[in-house]
Symmetry: C4
Subunit: 235 residues, 4 copies
């Protein structure tokens, strides 16, 4: 196997283990993928394998049409959702999916997460969106494909670099980023954002939105050409 | 002792330690059992022994009438509840009982857990049911037996393979599965399901139920002949 | 030093470290004591010492009037509260004090914890009581002594063996038991009981009380001559 | 480098790692600084560096005008806020900033934290204040400087030794103390205080304030010339 694909497997393996260590996921829940754009191959967690037992060589490599190219295990059943996002958004390099407690609770309540503070604005420019409900025919025809389509549809007016995640209605969050590890970091951030929003709204039902000038400032501190958070030349 | 019984003890011991590691239980609370259907013997946690001090040989083996067959310790005081379930449901191989925080809170509120999302639908086809209240005479005559009867009664129209757990009213959850380890996994899942339902309901009191077509799809992704979650030939 | 006092220090040290490991306490908060009834000496945590730095020989030994008999450090500033309880209740052997999150929240809300389920009834026969407010003159004269008096006063119609803890109004919980370790176990149980009560009440404001016949049954499963929880001859 | 500056770096490094271990912060969030008053140099966490990768020599030393004096990395983007506080409050030796869940939720709800119990009164004499909103022009001109000014402004009638922290509106908490480690300890305490206040208010919306005589007593048990908490001669 080429060095790039070995590297893809290792980075996707590490990102999955980072997700496990984060405490966002129990049992075999959740999955992380990454893509090597040169080969067009996606590395993704195998379905239903305990994190503790997984090894880098268990990461399944599939193409953008979800055909397995390398690997002895079946890929995550959510693979078509990941592939749909990689096909649509050429700039993303990794995707994470969890059932983390607070983000999933917002998804179950069918509520987007409003931007109530700078923690949110550091990561998302605007609310965290929610996908529409799927029709029975869509679920029956190809459920995962329909989920991917619903995400792409909801993101149609949004930029995946300023909106690095979404809540799938009554399901849970997907996040993305330039790499598999960055996608997991966005899952961790999203869970904190969701927990704080839930807690703030419980304290005061009419918690105000963060003003646009502070929100824009915070996002631009960390992202884009005006960023001054972090170290130059490091992501 | 026969190899099968040694294996039973080890698997029940491991499942109890998995429960402890999960953080669902404090002190000596909770208990897990498994059954060897050939011998008709149940292996169960000894009563009141700290998890840290327990060894595989401390797992008590009792028959379906709760008579101790092997072991120097007294079995869990909840043993008659486990036995009642094993007698009634021939397909289950393990049972777990916890006082996990959110599932127990629903039990205390005497509320079944509605199916609000796919995390729930992955595990339960329908709401998590609650048993009826016990009458004073039942409590005085044989409390644990009456609890087992109330569970069996509430499950009478339900299938233990699609409803792998229940909330005992004002007490806490029991879960089951094909093995002791699977029963513990269902306890872990149930606690997450309960926590997310409590949080979603706090965010929006009229959180809608998951539509039946999505619920059925999710359950069937993981269970039965149409399953495509996980690896072929592994549970 | 006599062997009994060495043993007292070790058991009190171990109980304090058990409290720390439980996660109920942060920084230097909380304290645990034990008593050797033969010598009338109380072993208690030194004031303001980080748990990580404490050694068994740092446990301060004081008499029932709070005079230091052995030890180079100042005892916990809450020592007069512990001593008041040991003087009043001859059957208790250990006391634990925490600011654990949920129990303290009930204390701050000036609400007793109602018995909403069997987890509660396993430990407390009846609600967890709250002390009265202290008058300004009491606080100025001898604050810790007044706190001890308020606890003794509130317990006047209660039995410390069936009510093994109390909430000091707007302060936090004290628990007790036959040993320092048992007192800590009751603190751990109380925190779970408080968390479940808070969660159940949030789910349903009119969550019903556990019926008296189930409550009495559960307590008697674990305590007194009718107990059948645990192993014979072990606490 | 002088011994004092080596010591500053080590103590600031240790305080940052204490923050990480406390669980108050995820990813690269949060930052802790300390000051050496003799040299007028502040040691502060480098921007965007994972705690796990940070070494003592990565701590950036800046002067009170935020010019980097020692260090190869860019200091925290919040450095101007820290510097503003050190310039204003000559008695503080360390500052910690987190996005801890409950304290940040109060900041997002734009609510000060009322003093509802002795846990709060042990640390803060009075409510935990909230800064005012920043105007768009302030955000555009110099956001971090404006944040520092807003804190100083809100603290104008308060004493930083009796009010060792503040909530920056819609952002999160800053705490301080005589050393970097003491500032982190105050962050840990503040998060518990916030969590208990949120829980108490959810249990009872009209939870009463702690009476002034108990609040004053508790603060004075720990702080100032009347303190009798802790060991003489230790902080």
């Amino acid at each position: 196997m080429e060095a790039d694909l070995v590297h893809l497997r290792e980075s996707v393996y590490e990102a999955n283990m980072m997700l496990k260590r984060s405490g966002l996921t129990v049992l075999t829940w959740g999955n992380v993928s990454g893509i090597d754009r040169d080969s067009g191959l996606i590395g993704i967690k195998p379905s239903g394998i305990p994190y503790e037992q997984m090894r880098p060589e268990d990461i399944v490599l599939v193409d953008l049409d979800c055909h397995v190219k390398h690997g002895l295990l079946r890929p995550s059943s959510d693979t078509p959702i990941h592939a749909a996002l990689y096909r649509q958004f050429g700039a993303i390099g990794g995707i994470a999916h969890t059932h983390s407690r607070y983000a999933t609770s917002f998804a179950q309540a069918c509520l987007e997460i409003p931007c109530l503070g700078t923690t949110h604005a550091d990561v998302f420019q605007g609310p965290v969106p929610v996908t529409r409900a799927l029709r029975a025919a869509e679920v029956q025809a190809d459920y995962e494909q329909a989920t991917g389509t619903a995400i792409v549809e909801r993101m149609s007016m949004l930029d995946p670099s300023t909106c690095p995640g979404i809540l799938v209605r009554q399901h849970g969050p997907f996040t993305w980023g330039p790499s598999a590890g960055a996608a997991v970091a966005n899952s961790i951030a999203l869970e904190e954002i969701a927990a704080m929003a839930a807690t703030a709204l419980a304290l005061k039902a009419d918690t105000p939105l963060l003003s646009q000038h502070v929100a824009a400032k915070h996002f631009s501190r960390r992202h884009g050409s005006t960023a001054y958070y972090g170290q130059p030349g490091r992501q």
